[in-house]
Amino acid sequence: MEERMHLYIEFLGREIPTYSVMILLGGITANLLALYFVKRDHLNLYDMIILEAYIVLGGALGAKGLFLWVNRDRIDWSRFFEPEYFDLLMKAGLVFYGGLLGGLFMVFLCKIIHHIEVERYVRTLCFSIPWVHAFGRVGCFMAGCCYGIPYSGPGAVVFPEDCYAPAGISLFPIQLLEAGCLMLLALFLLYLSIRGKYTYTLEVYLVLYAVLRFFLEELRYDSDRGYMGPFSTSQWISIILLILSAYLFWKQKRVQIETKNI
């Protein structure tokens, strides 16, 4: 049987990146779940659409921006405005943490510009972030990117020639492990939202993902990790997110106490 990674899916005569298809599937399913909460909790559908548009914009720009920053020494900035080089740069990779931080910033901006009660939407629909991310990681596995360290134990994978992972070497299936952990996290947050216990869902997500990412980073073997001192860029961001989560948790706790005292 010929093994071939599914870097692309052919659709109507066009090659569509598998990663994008998985992200799209994740996005569609997450939005269907979100519609359930919009209806159940009488949220405003158009507020959700506006907020989602801001988050996607912030996510895309943040993920791309952090990728460009991590690779700043390898990019020929004098060619940045050449159409072909710019096109390559725009296609040449993303960093999830950049997307997360960009998305969070745009949530804040959306609140200021449109006066939407963003916290309610973010906390209720927080499960959608790890949900879509899990689908994306499966896309990574199907394409062979974001691969793991050399490993020959149970579950090891060997990627063939036509993908980004080094061919013929037994590697740890980090993409699948992360996808599984993210989906568990998403289901836990979804459970909290279904039960109406969404007060701390954002903090729970940030803490658990930061810890998960910090340790799983040690099992990543793909290049361009962007190290600063002993830790990779993503590990440093994990540390910052843990501190941010502690602050958000403290702030939310105060809001809850003040609300009870009114």
Binding site: R74, I75, K91
Partner: protein, 81 residues
């Protein structure tokens, strides 16, 4: 704003099909989504805003699905570095 949403939706859809540097088409589409949704929030029966919103979503998805690719990116990485 409904007209703007429709125009931006058309532009982003065409951009997603034909033009390169699709992240720019995605940004145009996202702006169209926001404008369409703002109009629909205040006037749910506005047909032009609906068309603008739908086209903007289609355009944004077309642009993102073809340009946002972790592994397709890796081929581009190889060409860049």
């Amino acid at each position: 704003m409904a007209v703007a949403s429709l125009v931006l939706g058309i532009i982003s859809t065409i951009w997603g099909v034909i033009l390169p540097s699709k992240i720019i088409g995605a940004i145009i589409g996202i702006v169209g989504i926001v404008l369409g949704a703002v109009v629909k929030k205040n006037d749910p029966s506005n047909g032009m805003a609906t068309a603008g919103l739908v086209l903007s979503v289609i355009g944004t998805v077309l642009c993102l699905i073809i340009s946002v690719a972790c592994a397709a990116a890796c081929g581009a990485c190889g060409a860049l570095f």
